[in-house]
């Protein structure tokens, strides 16, 4: 970075005016007896994007804060941030190389799809049972482990699809059994503080599962071979639009995608479509959504909420297992692998709004893009890698402070 001082000053300027905007605009709306629900957030965004130039008119006019008012200033904030970053670091590869940026974008979207899939499981569990599972990362890890053992050790002949299905079955089974054994007292009203109980008991499960897997399979990393390998080819020959090597696809000679990640994303999308079909077109799926919307009304209509709880927890864990199952071919796998993805899933569901299924998926895409940008654009590559989990946390902190209900959530 050429001008770190300028960059720090710009950030400080944005934070300062954002803080002032949040406090002052809220007060202005309060004083004029207007709707204040969005005032603070809009104040922060306008302050950070324009400084006093936008805040003063906003303070004087206090317009009705429509959806456009809630969204546009944030685009301004991102733009100002990008300009400040560009001015302080003009030689950054993210501004000089269009190829690199497109590659990062595509890779970010691919990873975001898989993150979204995993977070969807957590959102499903929250929307039905109303708890956040702290063992989500462990189901992700177990999904990957099952695929590794199926394809490499137990039944190499069956192929990766059978292994992925086995991983789904195992994670669904563990999840459903755990729900029956440990969550039933919550529904019976026998637990004084159900939220805290659920946090601790799923945390205990995470601890248990992680070391159980370590005890059974050892603490050394394992690596599954890629599900599919491509032949080396070019199409059309000479000036290729698609160029493939064994583990890589290159589009237009600029976007490079690794095949394991691509197959993982494709499998995720297929599974996602299957899940959407299940949720919208089968009786059980509709019953699940009905329970999420209104538990008592669903019960009156003849849906057994207990059964739905089991199904939701099992399915949620299965989605985490699935994300692990398709990603095990892209990364090396350890019993501790689940911690960071679990953290990511938390960030995503808070960003999308706890319990919102579309929110979880879109949140996943956003986080995928932010992480790709963080990993690619932050100067000092060793630091960029070390801080990878931190980018999500910055989003989490901002969302919790500015809009605790998330992008699509109901008011908390």
């Amino acid at each position: 970075m050429d001008h770190p001082g300028f960059f720090s000053l710009a950030i400080l300027w944005m934070v300062l005016w954002g803080a002032i905007g949040g406090a002052v605009i809220h007060r202005a709306y309060l004083a004029r007896d207007l709707d204040v629900t969005a005032a603070r957030t809009v104040g922060v965004a306008v302050g950070a994007a324009t400084g006093p130039f936008g805040l003063v008119p906003l303070y004087l006019r206090t317009p009705t804060l429509t959806r456009a008012w809630q969204a546009l200033p944030w685009i301004g904030v991102v733009t100002v941030f990008l300009f400040a970053f560009r001015a302080s670091d003009p030689d950054n590869v993210c501004f000089t190389s269009g190829t690199f940026v497109t590659s990062q974008l595509v890779n970010g979207l691919i990873m975001g799809t898989i993150y979204g899939l995993m977070a969807l499981g957590l959102a499903l569990i929250f929307s039905i049972i109303g708890i956040v599972s702290f063992s989500h990362g462990e189901f992700y890890m177990i999904g990957g482990m099952v695929v590794y053992y199926m394809t490499e050790v137990w039944a190499p002949g069956l192929g990766p699809i059978a292994a992925v299905i086995a991983a789904c079955a195992v994670t669904f089974g563990i999840g459903a059994a755990f729900e029956r054994a440990f969550f039933t007292p919550i529904y019976a009203g026998k637990v004084e503080r159900p939220n805290e109980y659920a946090i601790l008991v799923t945390f205990g499960l995470a601890f248990f599962l992680q070391y159980l897997v370590q005890g059974l399979s050892g603490a050394n990393p394992v690596k599954a071979s890629p599900f599919f390998e491509l032949p080396r080819s070019e199409w059309p020959a000479g000036a290729p639009i698609i160029e493939t090597t064994r583990s890589n696809i290159k589009l237009f000679d600029m976007i490079s995608i690794s095949t394991p990640r691509l197959t993982a994303a494709i499998l995720s999308v297929v599974m996602l479509l299957a899940l959407i079909w299940f949720l919208y077109n089968t009786w059980t799926g509709r019953a699940l959504r009905a329970t999420a919307q209104d538990r008592q009304a669903a019960a009156v209509a003849g849906i057994n909420p207990g059964r739905m709880n089991m199904l939701a927890f099992g399915l949620g864990c299965m989605l985490a297992g699935l994300a692990g199952a398709v990603l095990v071919q892209a990364f090396s796998w350890l019993p501790q692998t689940g911690a960071i993805p679990a953290l990511r899933a938390f960030v995503i569901i808070v960003l999308g709004g706890l319990g919102s299924l579309p929110g979880a998926f879109i949140g996943g895409l956003i986080l995928g893009l932010v992480e790709a940008a963080g990993a690619g654009c932050v100067p000092d590559p060793t630091r960029a890698a070390a801080y990878l989990p931190a980018y999500g946390m910055i989003i989490l902190t901002l969302v919790l402070l500015l809009r605790p209900q998330g992008l699509f959530g109901r008011k908390v």
Binding site: V191, L200, L205, Y211, L354, Y387, A390, M393, L396
Partner: protein, 396 residues
């Protein structure tokens, strides 16, 4: 009648703990002392977490982050700040009450300590250089931890249950990333060395103990443990304890009844964070090295498991649980072979504790130790009450 046996047993146990290093003399003395010191350290963490979670209802996963902040706060002073009797002229320094406080550049930004070494070579005989005083280091660590507690307490004011837990998990992961990545200051994964608790040794009652001796460290940690427990018990039994429990039960109702929820929520974060930070600073000095790995989720899981298995709503029970579990963890380390399978106990003991944590939560909601204490205390009370009532009715 409520039995006083647990209280009497507790006092006897406390006295025994004080006498233990003097009477114990087996060959594994240092090892056993080390186990006790570690056990006290965990007991401090578990009982302060029990106040935060069990009384205040704030299920924070950042407790070890506060601990690490305290340890690193003390460690940075220990490594980079020195007191000298003469000005060096080249280092960053300022004079205060006749001594010079010298700030060395951090390890990664150049040759650490070069300016001090160069200056010392030119000084006359008798000029002294000493580390920043240990007590002030620990106090600084506690202030850093408490300040972070205030900040986090403020940030999480609006967050409940799941949000709070998610936020604090993430926060401690970030802190771990920062501590591992900012090698210039913290030396990353290699860890930051710290001077022993008594660098020049100490003489107690005519016996001189070297810097590596376990006995002085044992008494330091024991004193800290007793002080912490007394403070926590006093808080829990005072009006503040009631305020905290009202926060836990129903924040809105408490606020409606005039409890300043913002103030007490912040206060309980500051208090428990400062306690954890103090424990971290002392433990860092005792072990002699602090690394970001003390922050891994496993350590937090252990503290939670200790507090839950002991009894979340009873600080003494949480502390006893911590001591028992940290000993059990140590003694369950021995691998064994069963049916031709070698069992790696370093892993399987944790599987066992995970299971124990889940089963305790499911079936013994008050924790194992607290449950046992209550059972002893209240044994026969029911029958006694029935008998009294019957006697009163007969007398009519």
């Amino acid at each position: 009648m409520i039995s006083h046996a647990p209280k009497i047993a507790g006092s006897v146990a406390a006295a025994l703990l004080v006498l233990f290093p003097l009477v114990y003399s087996a060959g594994n003395y240092d090892f056993v002392m080390h186990l006790w010191i570690t056990a006290f350290y965990y007991a401090i963490l578990a009982s302060s977490w029990a106040l935060l979670a069990g009384y205040g209802g704030q299920f924070s996963f950042a407790h070890l982050a506060f601990m690490a902040l305290g340890a690193y706060g003390a460690g940075i002073l220990d490594n980079y700040v020195f007191l000298t009797s003469l000005p060096t002229g080249t280092c960053t320094e300022f004079g205060l009450l006749g001594t010079n406080i010298v700030f060395l550049p951090p390890a990664g930004t150049g040759d650490a300590g070069a300016c001090l070494t160069a200056a010392r070579a030119t000084w006359p005989e008798g000029a002294t250089v000493s580390r920043f005083p240990l007590l002030l280091q620990i106090a600084f660590g506690a202030i850093v931890g408490g300040g972070a507690g205030w900040l986090i307490g403020t940030l999480v004011l609006r967050l409940r249950a799941a949000y709070l837990a998610l936020f604090t998990v993430g926060l401690s992961e970030i802190l771990r990333a920062v501590l591992s990545a900012e090698i210039w200051l913290t030396r990353g994964q290699a860890g930051m060395p710290m001077s022993p608790l008594f660098p020049e040794g100490i003489t107690i009652l005519g016996t001189t103990y070297g810097p590596a001796a376990k006995l002085p460290a044992y008494y330091v940690m024991l004193a800290l443990f007793f002080a912490t427990l007394s403070l926590l018990l006093w808080v829990a039994r005072s009006r503040i304890g009631l305020f905290l429990r009202s926060l836990r039960e129903d924040e809105d109702a408490a606020e409606a009844l005039g409890v300043d929820t913002v103030k007490w929520k912040r206060a309980v974060f500051v208090l428990t964070a400062a306690i954890a930070a103090t424990a971290g600073a002392v433990q860092g000095h005792y072990v002699g090295l602090i690394t970001p790995n003390t922050l891994v989720l496993l350590q937090m899981s252990l503290v939670i498991a200790m507090a839950v298995i002991g009894g979340l709503e009873n600080l003494v029970a949480a502390a006893i649980g911590a001591i028992l579990i940290s000993f059990a963890l140590e003694f369950l380390r021995t691998d064994f072979t069963i049916l031709g399978l070698e069992v790696d106990m370093t892993t399987w003991r944790l599987v066992f504790f995970g299971l124990l944590l889940m089963l305790t939560l499911r079936f013994l909601r008050n924790g194992v130790i607290q449950g046992a204490l209550m059972w002893i205390e209240r044994r026969g009370v029911g029958a006694e009450t029935v008998a009294k009532r019957r006697a009163a009715e007969e007398a009519k």
